[in-house]
């Protein structure tokens, strides 16, 4: 699958979904569009014809506020009809603003409150280890989300139990809800923190598909260590006026802004 084309299509879906519904977090979703495209287009072993196959890889979006991007990816890869995306954030819809599993094949975990995905993913990885299963558990987190203490409990646990079937990807766009991560609760030295907790850390360029593929390949893993891929990203990536802006954590593109954003995305290579 052409993951770059997939990423472009996902961004267009998300722009349409968030604008139609008047929802927030378009910048957060665009930030991870390439990560999601690489995961669903190439990395994850998941099958829309058998979404609960025991051997599937488990994927958890822990930054649930960017759930529109996962819905778009599931629709684009055949888990449900693309037309269903039009109901996102609408009255009576099951495609909620924060990702939900109810009635949506392919979603492993409903999230929305930050700091929940990694502990649950750690439990799934532990279960696989105990049973000798070989699938991987991949958890995508936000950087602001790393403020949550529950994550650090799970980070300790996963390293202690040598869960090398667990992969965390941090969408490190360096902007959180109100300001930069550096101004809010400084994460740096971020790589050192994960390493000192006993994790195998791989840094990736989060909009470079080759870099993402390499960081997520089995060769990047280390035996007996969980892996953290710190993916350097740009919030709002793909629409020039949304990039690196706190504003687009919450703002909805309407009118001329919507048209301009769509034009950029449709014209993207």
């Amino acid at each position: 699958m052409d993951t770059k084309e997939l990423a472009r299509r996902l961004r267009i879906h998300v722009l349409n979904m968030t604008s139609r519904g008047g929802s927030s977090h378009v910048g957060s979703a665009f930030s991870m569009a390439d990560i999601i495209a690489v995961l669903y287009g190439s990395v994850l072993n998941v099958d829309p014809a058998n979404p609960s196959c025991p051997k599937r890889d488990r994927f958890i979006l822990s930054k649930g506020h960017a759930g529109a991007m996962v819905y778009a990816a599931l629709a684009e890869t055949g888990f449900f009809p693309v037309e269903k995306l039009e109901t996102h954030y609408q009255d009576g819809s099951d495609l909620s603003g924060h990702v939900s599993h109810k009635g949506i094949p392919g979603v492993e975990l409903s999230t929305g409150s930050l700091g929940h995905g990694l502990p649950v993913g750690t439990g799934m990885a532990m279960a696989a280890k105990l049973r000798g299963d070989t699938h991987r558990v991949v958890v995508l987190m936000g950087d602001g989300e790393c403020d949550e203490g529950s994550n650090w409990e799970a980070i300790l646990f996963a390293a202690h139990h040598q869960l090398d079937n667990l992969v965390v990807i941090v969408d490190y766009n360096k902007i959180q809800s109100l300001a930069s991560t550096a101004e809010t609760l400084a994460l740096e030295p971020f790589t050192d923190k994960w390493q000192s907790f006993g994790w195998n850390v791989v840094e990736a360029q989060g909009h470079d598909h080759d870099s993402l593929l390499e960081s997520l390949s089995p060769s990047a893993a280390q035996p007996n260590q969980p892996t953290c891929v710190i993916a350097h990203t740009i919030k709002g990536r793909g629409v020039s006026f949304m990039e690196n802006s706190v504003l687009w954590h919450y703002r909805t593109a309407r009118g001329e802004e919507f048209a301009a954003a769509l034009e950029e995305l449709e014209g993207a290579a």
Binding site: P119, T122, M124, M126, A128, S150, L156, F157
Partner: protein, 320 residues
């Protein structure tokens, strides 16, 4: 109750490899035998309850029947959102085991007083809330919650009521047990404090008053039929719980009966009305301190029965 729990859980783990016990670094000596016998069905999550509840959800989503175990409030309050969003919303077979309900750890201070748990857990959608009164109920509840879909909360008390078990006693989630027959009033209790209700019933009997005593081991789903029967067949209802009066057993009974239109002639909730207890002491001491012991229950019953009798006489005079 704690020993009964682990004894039954060991039997279950032996038969079913899906049983998984996760402790939040508590259970000194108590869990040793289980851990040695079932090393692949035991995890010490460390002092990290949020992760413990998340882990439990992940394991349950993969087919395990999970018990998380810690003292008093730690096991559910610290990780309440994980229990709500993760375990319960995903309908996971996660069983939350609170060691030390009410004032079981009374001398340790308010951090260890589990006195709002029933109200909090009862409010969560999809939860089953179980609070056994004695060893038999604790043992049976341990297994029954594994066979109940979704999240269950099991409140284990240090005290035990020691009810007489009849040969045909059958522990059923959502079904209250009549542990003493009577028709003058009903004393309905949950947890080990049922012992105080039984003692009060004995004292009342010496004064010719026959109290029905109900063990309400399941607060949710509540056995509304048992309370409707108590409302119509006995003179009134007094609920007894080592818990705040807000939203626990008494609250559940009042809600259910009022909604059903089966109001008892009198109704009173024995429980905590005084806020946090900064005073510490044994479970017995604190029950006396807060008017939840046998004497307080007996006195309240006498007062309500007399007042109710006066009311009935007045009504009769007006009618005549």
């Amino acid at each position: 109750m704690r020993d009964c729990f682990i004894a039954r859980l060991s039997q279950m783990a032996e038969k079913d490899p899906r049983i998984m016990l996760i402790t939040g670094d508590l259970g000194f000596c108590v869990l040793d035998d289980y851990r040695e016998r079932f090393p692949n069905q035991f995890i010490n999550a460390g002092v990290a309850e949020q992760n413990m509840a998340g882990l439990a959800t992940g394991l349950a989503l993969e087919g395990y029947i999970v018990y998380i175990y810690s003292i008093a409030n730690f096991v559910f309050m610290r990780c309440l959102e994980q229990i709500r969003n993760d375990a319960s919303y995903h309908n996971c077979n996660v069983n939350v085991v609170c060691i030390g309900g009410g004032f079981s750890y009374g001398a340790l201070g308010i951090s260890h007083h589990a006195t709002e748990d029933l109200a909090i857990m009862r409010s969560l959608p999809g939860l089953t809330v179980v609070s056994p009164c004695d060893h038999w109920e604790a043992t049976e509840a341990t297994e029954a919650i594994a066979n109940t879909p979704g999240v269950s909360y099991l409140r284990l008390d240090k005290s035990t009521a020691g009810t007489a078990i009849k040969s045909d006693d059958d522990f059923q989630i959502g079904k209250a047990r009549v542990v003493r027959e009577g028709s003058d009033l009903t004393l309905a209790a949950t947890g080990g404090i049922l012992a105080e209700a039984l003692s009060a019933a004995e004292e009342l009997a010496q004064q010719g008053i026959q109290a029905r005593v109900l063990s309400v081991h399941t607060l949710k789903p509540l056995d509304v039929d048992a309370f409707a029967a108590a409302a119509t067949e006995t003179g009134g209802i007094i609920t007894v719980e080592e818990h705040t009066v807000h939203g626990g057993l008494g609250g559940a009974v009042a809600e259910a009966l009022l909604e059903r239109g089966e109001t008892p002639q009198f109704f009173h909730r024995i429980g905590l009305r005084h806020g946090f207890s900064s005073v510490v002491g044994s479970q017995d001491y604190l029950r006396t301190q807060y008017d939840m012991d046998c004497q307080a229950i007996t006195a309240k019953a006498m007062q309500l029965l007399k007042s109710n009798l006066l009311d009935l006489k007045l009504h009769a005079q007006v009618a005549a």
